[in-house]
């Protein structure tokens, strides 16, 4: 009992300009919509990938990030005695005491500066983070003023290429290696010997302690013991959990900003679709009367016009999504608000984002087409056919 779909498709095709303009409006909104989701997801992915599920990070109680946390040498030694900590090949606990310091560096080719995270690490740090690979050069030597920089830092900051040097903590540090940690925050860090950093910055305390669990299931036990030990003032989190928290604020901000933008834009696109659909109905009043006379019911007419609006929306959705997929080639950088350091990440498209974008487009189409389609369905046949005069 349905009006054939060719009717709908060819009507859209015949009015190419109007259709194209309406679809472009929809596409623009969908582009913004999916770009925002891709941005939020890309950031989250970068930060969450940074963590590994077997690793536990111990920070000072009430500090929300490594940068703000301090753990003194005594507390660090108590933490190191926990029986749940995995052992390395020498039978020693697989644990790293690390120091985080923020410094500012000049961006290459500009006069701008940005915050960069320095991480003082020890031997175990590399083993605890198997995702961090040295791509050129070598690791820094213990006791030397040497550093290894993340790939993204090497590319973007002055003095950070292999063989160059930068100055901080009143010393000059030679870049001896470049590390790549893929899409994680470590690709945006500078690593050096924790003891050298502590001397250079005159910091007697660590920022956090990272260790590997013997088994993932041991986490609740060790967390409870550490957090209730009267000698300690610490919290224990899985590394994954920690980085997830780091991303949340930023992700939320991007999403809210994006949704506000999208709502405003989508209102425009829906009104555009509505105007187009009203004129499509007005131009085809006699046709509608004819179809109704031939025996097509009001529901068939309603469906045909809703389908037309839906197609406008879907076309916009597909074009918008396809355009936004090109954003995946772009790397963006921003300041991580929790650690205040520079992070670089990519727009990331997922099937879920694609589904949201297409559904959003479909809803916009239907929303714009609803009133005009109802008008078409409600027309009286004789008035539509205009049989008098």
């Amino acid at each position: 009992m349905k009006i054939p779909y060719q009717y709908t498709v060819r009507n859209l095709w015949n009015r190419k300009l109007t259709t194209a303009l309406t679809v472009s409006g929809m596409a623009l909104v969908v582009f913004v919509f999916s770009a925002v989701l891709m941005l939020a997801y890309g950031l989250k992915k970068t930060l969450v990938n940074t963590g590994s599920p077997d690793n536990v990070l111990v920070l000072r109680r009430s500090s929300t990030s490594e940068v703000m946390s301090t753990i003194d040498r005594y507390q660090a030694s108590v933490i190191a005695t926990q029986p749940e900590i995995a052992l390395d090949s020498d039978g020693l606990p697989l644990l790293a005491k690390e120091l985080l310091v923020l410094i500012t560096l000049n961006k290459r080719g500009t006069t701008k500066v940005a915050n960069v995270t320095l991480r003082g690490v020890d031997d175990n740090s590399w083993e605890l983070r198997p995702g961090v690979r040295l791509v050129v050069g070598r690791k820094f030597s213990k006791g030397a003023n040497e550093i290894v920089v993340g790939k993204r830092i090497a590319e973007r900051f002055e003095g950070c290429a292999l063989g160059e040097s930068i100055k901080f903590g009143k010393r000059r540090w030679l870049v001896v290696g470049i590390m790549d940690a893929g899409n994680t925050e470590f690709s945006s860090e500078v690593w050096g010997d924790v003891d050298q950093f502590m001397q250079a910055f005159r910091r007697p305390v660590y920022s956090g302690i990272l260790f590997r669990l013997k088994k993932r299931s041991l986490f609740p036990g060790v967390k409870h013991r550490l957090e209730n030990d009267p000698r300690l003032t610490v919290v224990a989190k899985t590394e994954i959990e920690y980085y997830k928290e780091q991303s949340e604020l930023m992700e939320r901000f991007i999403k809210i900003l994006g949704m506000v933008l999208t709502s405003i834009f989508s209102l425009g696109a829906v009104i555009g679709a509505m105007i187009t659909m009203y004129s499509n109905v007005a131009n085809r009043i006699v046709e509608i009367g004819t179809l109704r006379a031939l025996g097509f019911g009001r529901t068939s007419v309603l469906t045909a016009f809703l389908l037309e609006a839906l197609l406008l929306g879907l076309a916009g959705g597909i074009i918008g999504l396809a355009s936004s997929s090109f954003l995946q080639n772009i790397t963006v950088s921003t300041t991580n608000w929790k650690s205040f350091s520079e992070v670089a990440f990519r727009f990331a498209l997922t099937p879920r984002i694609a589904l949201y974008a297409i559904s959003f487009a479909a809803i916009m189409g239907i929303a714009g087409g609803a009133l005009p389609s109802l008008r078409a369905a409600r027309l009286s046949i004789v008035e539509a056919l205009h049989t008098w005069e």
Partner: protein
């Protein structure tokens, strides 16, 4: 050519009911124009037998189209009875009436009313989409209808690629493709040049005489009215006259 009008008492007409395909009883219709009420039909009575070819004539505004629309079930009377093939269509609700039209009425319009984005073939196929026929059966029916109306060679043309006369042939094919109980035609030659008009009238004549189709036509073209077997004259919303055409069938 026409006989002098023979007056008939509407009451007597009811006695023909056994043979009548369409029975119209005391039909009233008015429209609202703003706050004003325009009375169009005031108590029309008539009956039409099966395989009849009827023309409604009369001055412009006399209510011919309104009467035809009521018979075709695209408009509703204020009052009165309208029985077509045993069904009182004034009692059908909106969606039942739609289904009734799809099954029982073929429409021919003055301006053809073909769907511009569909080919001749697809236009003729439209009413068949409301039947349970398969695609293959539909194709058979559409081809047959286009053949009867002599426009099969243009089956895959769009309306804009056809002349007025050709479009009306497609429209007539669309009207007969479901083999409806009645065919209604409102000024079918009103937009055609003389030659095309003659051809279309011949086609309608053929449909009635050879294929036994019941046709109800509204026209103000005397040539068209002469082709009908029976003519009803409307004036200011009432049936003023009726006569049978004296033609060689």
């Amino acid at each position: 050519m026409s006989e002098p009008p023979s007056k008939e008492n509407p009451k007597e007409l009811k006695n023909d009911d056994d043979r009548a395909l369409i029975i119209i009883n005391d039909l009233h219709k008015s429209y609202r124009k703003g706050t004003q009420k325009v009375t169009v039909l005031t108590g029309v009575n008539l009956s039409i037998t099966r395989a009849q070819y009827v023309a409604f004539i009369g001055p412009s505004g006399s209510g011919k189209t309104t009467l035809l629309n009521l018979i075709a079930g695209i408009d509703r009377p204020d009052r009165g009875k309208l029985v077509v093939d045993g069904i009182d269509i004034t009692r059908l609700d909106d969606s039942k009436l739609s289904r009734w039209r799809a099954r029982h009425v073929g429409f021919i319009f003055q301006f053809y009313n073909l769907i511009p984005v569909l080919t001749a073939f697809e236009n003729v196929e439209l009413p068949l989409l409301l039947t349970p026929l398969s695609r293959k059966q539909r194709k058979k029916h559409v081809t047959a209808a286009l053949k009867v109306t002599g426009i099969l060679d243009r089956a895959f043309y769009y309306p804009s690629q056809l002349s007025g006369g050709q479009q009306q042939r497609v429209a007539i094919a669309r009207a007969i493709v479901t083999d409806p109980t009645i065919i209604v035609a409102d000024e079918p030659t009103g937009d055609l040049d003389k030659d095309s008009a003659v051809q279309i009238l011949d086609l309608l004549h053929h449909l009635n005489r050879e294929l036994g189709k019941t046709i109800i036509m509204v026209t103000h073209d005397p040539r068209a009215a002469r082709k009908a077997r029976k003519v009803y004259v409307l004036d200011k919303g009432i049936l003023r006259d009726q006569y049978e055409n004296d033609i060689i069938w």
